[in-house]
Amino acid sequence: MAAVLESLLREEVSVAAAVRWIARSAQSSEDDPGEAAALSSLRPLRKEFVPFLLNFLREQSSRVLPQGPPTPAKAPGSSAALPGRPGGPPRGGRGARSQLFPPTESSSAAAAEAPSARRGGRRRGPGPGRERGGRGPGGLEEGVGGESQLWPGGRRSRGSGSPGSPSLVRSDPPNLSNLEEFPPVGSVPPGPAGTKPSRRINPTPVSEERSLSKPKTCFTSPPINCVPSSQPSVPDTSPWGHGLPPGCRSLQEEREMLRKERSKQLQQSPSTTCATSELGPPLPSWTGNLTAESADPARVSSRQRLELIALVYSSCIAENLVPNLFLELFFVLQLLTARRMVATKDGDLEPSPGAPDSLESPLFQSVHDCVFFAVQVLEHQFQVLSYLDKGTLKLLAENERLLCFSPALQGRLRAAYEGSVAKVSLAMPPSAQAVSFQPETDNRANFSSDRAFHTFKKQRDVFFEVLREWEDRHEEPGWDFEKGLGSRIRAMMGQLSAACSHSHFVRLFQKQLLQMCQSPGGTGGTVLGEAPDVLSMLGADKLGRLRRLQERLVAPQSSGGPCPPPTFPGCQGFFRDFILSASSFQFNQHLMDSLSLKIRELNSLALPQPEPSDEDGESDVDWQGERRQFAMVLLSLRLLAKFLGFVAFLPYRGPEPPPTRELQDSILALRSQVPPALDVRALLQQGLRARRAVLTVPWLVEFLSLADHIVPLLDYYRSIFTVLLHLHRSLVLSKESEGEMCFLNKLLLLAVLGWLFQIPTVPEDLFFLEEGQLDALEVDTVASELGLDGMPVVDQHLLYTCCPYIGELRKLLASWVSGSSGRSGGFVRKITPTTTTGLGAQPPRTSQGLQAQLAQAFFHNQPPSLRRTVEFVAERIGSNCVKHIKATLVADLVSQAESLLQEQLVTQGQDGGDPAQLLEILCSQLCPHGAQALTQGREFCQKKSPGAVRALLPEETPAAVLSSAENIAVGLATEKACTWLSANITALIRREVKAAVSRTLRAQGPEAAARGERRGCSRACEHHAPLPSHLISEIKDVLSLAVGPRDPEEGVSPDHLEQLLGQLGQTLQCRQFLCPPAEQHLAKCSVDLASLLVADHIPVLGPPSPRGLERGQARRLLHVLLSLWKDDFQVPVPLQLLLSPRNVGLLADTRPREWDLLLFLLRELVEKGLMGRTEIEDCLGSLRDAQWPKDFSEELATLFHLFLAEPHRPEPQLRACELVQTNRGTVLAQS
């Protein structure tokens, strides 16, 4: 490979030809024959060129960039076939020359060791001991022990050695957390052994300034199990929740190490600073000891060589020959901001005079070289840079090195910065609204049984209870999801027996997921892996605050480098942990079904299809809406797909790939049988064909990012990766022609794909596929149709929201600024809250041939908002129509049913026969009327739709357009309504009639009779009557006084009694606050009170009356009661209680007994028609059966006879009574 570079350097081959050679297998006619000859000899090595180049650059820069995060080289030294491919060459069999680090399968042993390396302890010394072993099947055992593997998840990092220094260049996955292993430059101990550069750029875990800005993890995706924790105190934050290797340190611990390291550095600084800073004194404000050298264009060595390599490198980037565009930009910016050169062992630094332009001498001999190279590349990449966010542009434009090396580029950047539209808005606080109850889907009718309905009711509450508890406690140190909530969740899931309950719960779960995690405003940056860079805002030297701050932050830094692994930040963590804790197969299956359905639905959602020539274009207010809608759909899809991927691959998920080839093969054989949870390949192909890649690919990437190690090896998914690789290669940013994808759309796809290619589970050699496979895959797009891809649907905001890791570029630049000037370089990441309007289902499309086509054609030349309006109106009117029919036609039929039923009940007697039979009779009579629904529905749509369309379209809409739009809306609405009605009206009528029947039958019960007709208050009533509760309470007090026991001074005044009965009258007349049970109790209490009056049992207050109430007073009170019973009570009064043995028995206790009031009462009851004579006679008759004292029985018998004897003339009866009572001696003349 080096030969290619050499020939380039010797100018035997032009850069253009070389890039053509790399990009395409076939020779181009443009190629010079000489060039072609030079290159054709190297043909077998062609596809190894890019990985070689990338690794070469990384190696060359390793002495300059020890402090930055390493640039990963997911660039294998060879394009060996994918691991495990049958028939592929043995892995790692290429030999050590071209492939010092053959593809290795990480072993579990290596994986297990990783943590200890992370934890510190100088496990690997510089030098030969740092080699790592290749343990792949057939691989060379290269390692000499002491190796450390940071990525147990199969993250293998390889590089090919430079021919000149094979033994020196070792690609090790950086262990950034290990401060001792990768000490910052200033602390590198001098001495031959210590100065040997590690062979990659990777080294330091934490740069001085960045140490403050973020917890360092590795540059590339760390192993899935060592995900940088977004919740420092929670021990288990890996996406998989479980199985965290012991070595995964919490952020807290890393901080601790960082602090120690920092203090160590400070101690060491005096000597090292002197030793290394040769160029001028450090600026006073510089922090720490990591002073940056100033770079000087005049001191660049071998300019030409650097220019040339920069050109080749840039061309590779431009042609998408590198896996990850932003990774390369990051690398370049690292070079730009390189602080100083590490002194190496004798001569290494010296350019070898003999071959200045060969690869023998180091490419970057000084910081000047690095900066020069970086600026060269940046110049070539200006177009991409100009699309970066304003903050990054500002930092770039203000970079003094850039200004110094290329004032022209600086000028362009400044112009780009000034032209960039500021889009900074702060994240809104999370608003965890619960999913609202929707009767249409949630009421009893949607459940198989009452039990299922009530179970779901409980589950909803448990779910939110768990969610609330999580919100409150997940940040607490020591709190554990599984321990805290696991058993409750499982208990709840255990109740979900019926399949239908599962689907209800899943719907709730999914809705809540979307609600909480989808809107960027919802969980703010955390959802999208973003968090304000608070640490860099703070400035570089506020380490003391770090700890406190960190404790306060939910997700101190959730994006880990430019290629963070997939994580579940913020609220997503709750849903992930819920799934894990629930560990319910049924739930997972239902969830996958539901997620798949929603993904399909959203993926095929009709999104804006505006005319590209639409002059309003970008500025059109509609466009903001279109974009917002697109962003909403895209973000929802990504979220859903991520969870689908999570659940779908959950059973296969493990920390490592299978250890042996045989095992892998058998797993492959098994897995290839399993159909995919969702046919993503078909969706991808559809998406590409319909030119909707910009929508489909980002969510597909999310889905695939959660795949397990085996997935990329399965034929099905392999073919998807192949398509994606092809797509990636085709997204050349510089190509701008008719029908091309929009720039930002491309950039988004490049970013997400680049990220995917760095995911630990994706084999790194996948990217450098055999070209034959690539060429074979041409997607036939419908060229005529301009799909979403050609629309400027992606804006910068969406790009950064989907790919927060792009922000790493800015952080890097900011850290340079803060490092060199002490200024704060951070800022709050922008997140524009998007509205959380629900995404309606795809509006129904007419399928009526020509008319439908005409309608489509009509919309084609109209602004998209017109179509949306019409579809929206149709959808709503159609739905309203159904509701209207329910409320009118169906309601009428139901009331008919009720009256029919009443008739039936009258004719057939109370029970009316079998309810089921009744229902059948009624339905057979009423259901035919349902046919009217269609006519009425048509009328409704006809009447309502045009007005709605007119109100929503601009005033200026031409009349013809307007009327067409109205007609289409009417048609669509009618279709929607009538489709529904014709399918459902009968069932609907049946259901409603059934409910009415059971209602009516229930109403026939005894209670209903008691209820009777109820009157309201009079119209003039102002509802000032005493409250029923107050009256019951007052009467109860009187009763309790009367019944005793009571204190001697206790009693009731007659006035109070009278007042009380007056109030009772008022209350009974004002019905405002009166409910039947209260009235019933009042009635019963009033009867009790009457009995006590008759028996003279009311204790009266005050001295004048030793015997209770005066007879006259008692009689007046009884009169009042009688009239209340007659006129005011609307519930039946239990008057027969007046003659119950208990109440009559009250008389037995009084001496002397006075019967006049009782007789008076009985007479009045009959006279007022409150009780019939016979009724009273019955009561008196049964009274005689009770056991009484002998004298009492006699008196009772007398009373009975008296009452019977004079039925018709009450007045004389009273006298007769007196006569009788004179015998007993205590007759009291009536007044």
């Binding site: 409250l1027 606050f1073 019963k1084 208990r1142 206790d1149």
Partner: protein, 281 residues
């Protein structure tokens, strides 16, 4: 009416082992003249109920029942007109209205052929005239009218109070022109959990958005509030979002801690209501 925890504890302290009679209530009013009668009764009732819940079981062991029944028989044997049952209940620190069914059931077991059903017992408690024994009927009636915390009359009063406050609240909503759906309408639509009122258009009360209002004609103490939160308020929140609870007889100030979360407590109808279109003073 909104009490601090300390104020509440002071009142609760006075209620330990106090029988639920009107005399006790009178003393309580004298002790805390500044508190409203309804609030005091509500607190009394709730504290007493807590006490009964704790001790309920021990009054229902067969030994206890037998011993109570014998004491009752002895008592009425001496004097049937004396408040035997009421005093027995007070002596053993149990609610008279709860003691009555214990004795009644035991009595019926002895005198009837078939063991009495719950509904028969309840019916006899509502109407003691049905009790076959005159003396027992009077004893039971006495227990019921003298108990201010339990019994069918008290239940009815509580129910009536609840109903009246819902009506009051409805009137206030109508007066403020806030459209709402009430419980019956919600149930008819098939809602599984129904607050008293759901506002059709949410309003802001003291700066907090509310979607629903629940009326509670009682004092909000810790125990009842926690139970309500669990059984009702959070369930409403889970379905309808944040809302307002009115404890008409006041509540412990410290319990109003979920405002930010979406459950607002008030002791009266709020005055600071902001609607979508205009502000109501």
């Amino acid at each position: 009416m909104i009490l601090t925890k300390a104020q509440y504890d002071e009142i609760a302290q006075c209620l330990v082992s106090v029988p639920p009679t009107r005399q006790s209530l009178r003393k309580l009013k004298q002790r805390f003249p500044s508190q409203s009668q309804a609030t005091l009764l509500s607190i009394f009732s709730q504290e007493y109920q807590k006490h009964i819940k704790r001790t309920h079981a021990k009054h229902h062991t067969s030994e206890a029942i037998e011993s109570y029944y014998q004491r009752y028989l002895n008592g009425v044997g001496r004097n049937g007109a004396a408040p035997v049952l009421l005093e027995l209940a007070n002596e053993v620190d149990y609610a008279p209205s709860l003691m009555a069914p214990v004795i009644l059931e035991r009595f019926l077991q002895e005198h009837e052929e078939t063991p009495p059903s719950k509904s028969v017992i309840n019916s006899m408690l509502r109407d003691p005239s049905q009790i076959p024994d005159g003396v027992l009927a009077n004893q039971v009636y006495q227990c019921i009218v003298n108990d201010c915390c339990y019994g069918p009359l008290v239940d009815c009063i509580k129910h009536a109070i609840g109903h009246e406050h819902e009506v009051l609240l409805r009137d206030m909503l109508l007066e403020k022109n806030l459209s709402f759906l009430d419980e019956d309408q919600l149930r008819a639509k098939g809602y599984d959990k129904t607050p008293d009122f759901i506002l059709q258009v949410p309003v802001a009360v003291e700066g907090h958005i509310i979607h629903w209002i629940e009326s509670k004609a009682s004092f909000g103490d810790e125990c009842s509030h926690q139970a309500y939160l669990h059984d009702q308020f959070w369930s409403y929140w889970n379905r309808f979002g944040p809302g307002l609870v009115i404890y008409w007889y006041g509540f412990i100030q410290e319990l109003d801690c979920n405002r930010e979360r979406g459950i607002l407590l008030k002791a009266c109808f709020p005055t600071d209501i902001v609607t979508l279109c205009h502000s109501v003073a």
